[in-house]
Amino acid sequence: MIDCAAFIGPYPFRQLPHPDPDVLVRVLAREGLSGAWVGYLPAPWQRDPVAANESLLAALVPHRSTLHPAPVVRPDWPRWEHMLRDLVEQGSPAIRAYPMHWGMGPHDASMRALALSCGELRVPLVLTVRFEDLRQRSALDVAGDLTAAHIRTLARAGASVRLVVTGAGRELLEETHWSLTPDEQRRVLWDFAWIWGPPEDHFAHLVRTIGAERFVYGTHWPLRLTQNARANLDLLPESLRHAAITDVASLGR
């Protein structure tokens, strides 16, 4: 099972213990995960994505069998189409984008173009709803959570689009999922790291209503405890304990 929501690098708003690739490799082994799509944590707050991607790719070189780069492509940046093609040709299994951090609204034409281009290249586009709970966010961190309007606009962009949305809670997920046609719903996968388990049992409810196959495994390391996703699975009611979630490895080219 691949972790679709891991990062390396420092976080601007608090000290993270050892956000380094070699530590991530050990953590994945401890958690029984075969690898991770890895983003570069400073990237959302940097204007120019080139340096962030270079740092990411260089840091992952010694660990490429386990850590797969999920670099960032900013579709309002000159030559982004070339950057996307190069990154995919170099073996990136997924591309990340942060429309909230780039000030892009839900109907931004460049984001739509990026989603379609990723679809044509058969790589999923990874969207991050949030890095931290709103209640603890720094006053300087003003991007806000990703909205359902952003997600459904991209999901409707075309049949080739594949989205992996990480960090959503039940409310955002349901608003998005039930605003899409069945075909459009199948273009969106969700991780469940931020979805509440028992006693509210939001995760169990969603497994029942939208299906286990819509969920993928994401830890949000190094921001969050990797144990949380596994705990959510382990605390599903007995009748759902064997529900099969999707491995993002199956989404590759």
């Binding site: 608090r14 000290q15 993270l16 213990p17 401890r30 709970d133 209640r135 603890q136 509440w196 388990g197 028992p198 006693p199 509210e200 049992d201 995760f203 390391w221 190094p222 921001l223 969050r224 405890l225 144990q227 949380n228 596994r230 705990a231 959510n232 382990d234 605390l235 009611p237």
Partner: protein
């Protein structure tokens, strides 16, 4: 046999709490507790949870009704459930009566919400009565209060530390270190007030929180708990197991500290184990 485990911060709903699925939610707590290995749940009912008066400012009627149903639920599951008596300090006489009534019917602690700032003088008679009965006080806390938030008069670690300093013989359980706000602010705010004991509950599972809490406060001042999200409780339990804590420290966080803070005899199955 696995080591005992006490969830020091749990809630039950009831028929008058405005949600039709209250029994399912309560049952899910016990189902998950069994899966995690919880020996005792220390539970409170927060009035009507906003149905007939605000959750954090419950009316005296709702406080009493909530405590009544809480007592009945605890009596129905003596094996696994202990309970806090909930009070609203804005109604001093009622709060003191509720504590006396609660102690007479088996309450083992006092639950303070966010009805009044923690360091407000109205909390003093409540603390004094808690001391008289040897009860710990679980106090709802926002980690680092930087502004007011609607529907609660929030307190943070600094506020609670001021109250705790006035009542050094009362144990104060600082609610949900992972429950929103900045936990890194809370730890230095209470480090010099030894009768404040943060519980680890809350939906937040920040990496670094447990390690830093252990570093700053030590294992003897932390209590494992879940509050509203038991998957985060299980994740923290598993994290505690991999941070390399000495066995005695792990035992303290799992149940030993709670057994020390609550009245003697509260958790016989832990002591027996």
């Amino acid at each position: 046999m696995t080591d005992p485990l006490i969830d020091a911060h749990a809630h039950f709903y009831h028929a008058e709490s405005g949600r039709g699925d209250w029994e399912r939610v309560n049952a899910a707590r016990m189902r998950a507790g069994d899966a995690i290995g919880v020996t005792y749940h220390v539970v409170s009912v927060l009035g009507s949870y906003g149905h007939t008066s605000p959750t954090y400012f419950p009316s005296p009627t709702d406080v009493s009704r909530g405590n009544d149903v809480m007592r009945a639920m605890a009596d129905a599951d003596r094996e696994r459930v202990r309970w806090y008596v909930t009070v609203n300090p804005n109604h001093t006489a009622h709060a003191l009566d509720e504590i006396a009534r609660g102690v007479a019917s088996g309450a083992v602690g006092v639950k303070l919400l966010a009805s009044r700032r923690a360091d407000d003088a109205l909390n003093d008679p409540i603390c004094a009565l808690a001391e008289e009965h040897g009860l710990p006080i679980l106090h709802h806390i926002w980690q680092h209060r930087t502004r007011e938030w609607p529907n609660q008069e929030i307190s943070d670690g600094r506020d609670l530390a001021r109250l705790a300093a006035r009542h050094p013989r009362v144990a104060f359980i600082l609610a949900h270190l992972g429950g929103g706000g900045d936990w890194a602010h809370t730890l230095p705010a209470v480090v010099d007030t030894p009768n404040v004991y943060p519980d680890l509950s809350g939906s937040g599972v920040d990496r670094g929180m447990i390690d830093t809490a252990l570093q700053v406060l030590g294992a003897q001042r932390l209590l494992w708990a879940c509050d509203l999200t038991m998957e985060t409780g299980l994740a923290k339990l598993r994290a505690l197991e991999v941070v390399g804590l000495p066995e005695d420290d792990l035992r303290a966080v799992r149940w030993g500290n709670a057994a020390r803070l609550f009245p003697p005899g509260t958790f016989p199955r832990c002591v027996a184990a």
